[in-house]
Symmetry: C2
Subunit: 221 residues, 2 copies
DNA sequence: CCTCAAATCTGAGCATCGTTCAAATAGCCC
DNA sequence: GGGCTATTTGAACGATGCTCAGATTTGAGG
């Protein structure tokens, strides 16, 4: 599905399916998700307005296919980034930075991946599976960090959710939030935001783990 | 703008502007942002398809107005929640929980507030101002926490961003992410997620502040 | 090589959408 | 009442998602 040459030359168009996805990505990058119409994608692929419906049941199905590709790319980039760290805490930081980098580098994919009104997760189980796949990588890394002592014990689920929320939240704020207009007040450049936030989270994780090791009871509030 | 009775009885319709916003919110809650069309909102308000354009320059402008209302509501609920905490760390936790609660309680508002393709921040400065207003509340609270010793010193900007990213990320994941399908694997109910994640962040903040107080150097990685 | 069914594509058509605009209407100040 | 402005109408335009009957191409089996 990621390979545009999958069926080249075997049908009338070659591989209209891949051509439509490529055209769609280009349209989305030029003018946002709203700028994607099946008719424009069809014209870009040199085909009539009705042709796409032999490859995608609807506009949503096209977007779902793009989202699936996006999750594959994200998972791949996170796995690659993970190998740059030695301790689990480092790996988690690398994953987080890769997540944010992915959002900034592939905004077209990222938006489609997290817009259920464009491609519903229940309607396209492949999309849901893609999301779970990326999620599992974080679960694994946090568990490793706990056994290494870099992440406080207990509440494993909470720390996983915390890590994912941080990276996803920062990505969303950079892409769609008022952060793009506000971050200049913060005396940091946009490309440093991920380092800053993920770094702060790492500090907190390690500091809290150290405190716990010294017998400090971690309480909420 | 929040008051639906603002101009009641003074024009042909009464207050078409407010009626359109009310109708729009209803449509969005029923079928998502995509289910809102100016024509349907107009019909719901008992008015012709062209009438809305005397109150909103475009569909985007209508959505921007809704977003502005949303930011007012969010800011109000965060301020109210803040007063339930005594220390700054507690206040920050309350803000975070209120943020997530707002997203779950008012998904229609929340989505519009963070969809620049629906209502561009540059095009509607009021929207941008609304976002900044909510953001400032977090800045203030984190700064208070640092002077109280509940939040580690230094990197003030990073901790603000961290706190906002966490709350915004969790909200986004609950509303639009694959979390809705995955959280059952985590052995927690959805309404506990905010407590769990915000609580984890609070623990980290306090643990790290305690470690710093005992002379531990907080390093990234 | 020929046949024929299946896959693929065309192009017209339908309903809906955002948006514009001239003309009609209602409210308000003088 | 006169006249001005705000408001509303209803038709119109172009674009969209999607459907469908029919034309075209492909590839496998005789």
């Amino acid at each position: 599905m990621l390979d545009a040459m999958e069926k080249e030359g075997s049908y009338h168009h070659g591989d209209l399916r891949a051509a439509l996805i490529a055209a769609s990505l280009q349209l989305i990058e030029e003018g946002g998700v709203q700028a994607l119409s099946l008719r424009k994608a069809a014209k870009k692929a040199g085909v009539s307005p009705g042709a796409p419906y032999h490859h995608f049941a609807s506009r949503s199905a096209l977007l779902a296919a793009i989202g699936v590709d996006g999750f594959v790319l994200l998972r791949r980039e996170m796995e690659r980034a993970r190998e740059e760290g030695t301790t689990a805490a480092e790996k988690m930081g690398c994953c987080g930075r890769a997540y944010v980098r992915f959002a900034r580098t592939h905004p077209a994919y990222f938006r489609v991946m997290f817009r259920p009104e464009l491609a519903d997760l229940h309607e396209f189980p492949e999309l849901e599976a893609g999301g779970s796949s990326a999620f599992e990588l974080l679960v694994q890394t946090v568990r490793e960090g706990q056994s290494e002592g870099n992440i406080p014990e207990g509440d494993s689920d909470a720390y996983v959710l915390l890590a994912w929320s941080v990276t996803h939240g920062l990505s969303s704020l950079i892409l769609d939030g008022p952060l793009g207009a506000d971050f200049d007040k913060l005396d940091v450049r946009e490309d440093q935001l991920a380092d800053l936030v993920v770094g702060a989270l790492s500090k907190l994780f390690q500091g809290a783990a150290e405190a716990q090791r010294r017998g400090v009871q971690l309480t909420e509030g």
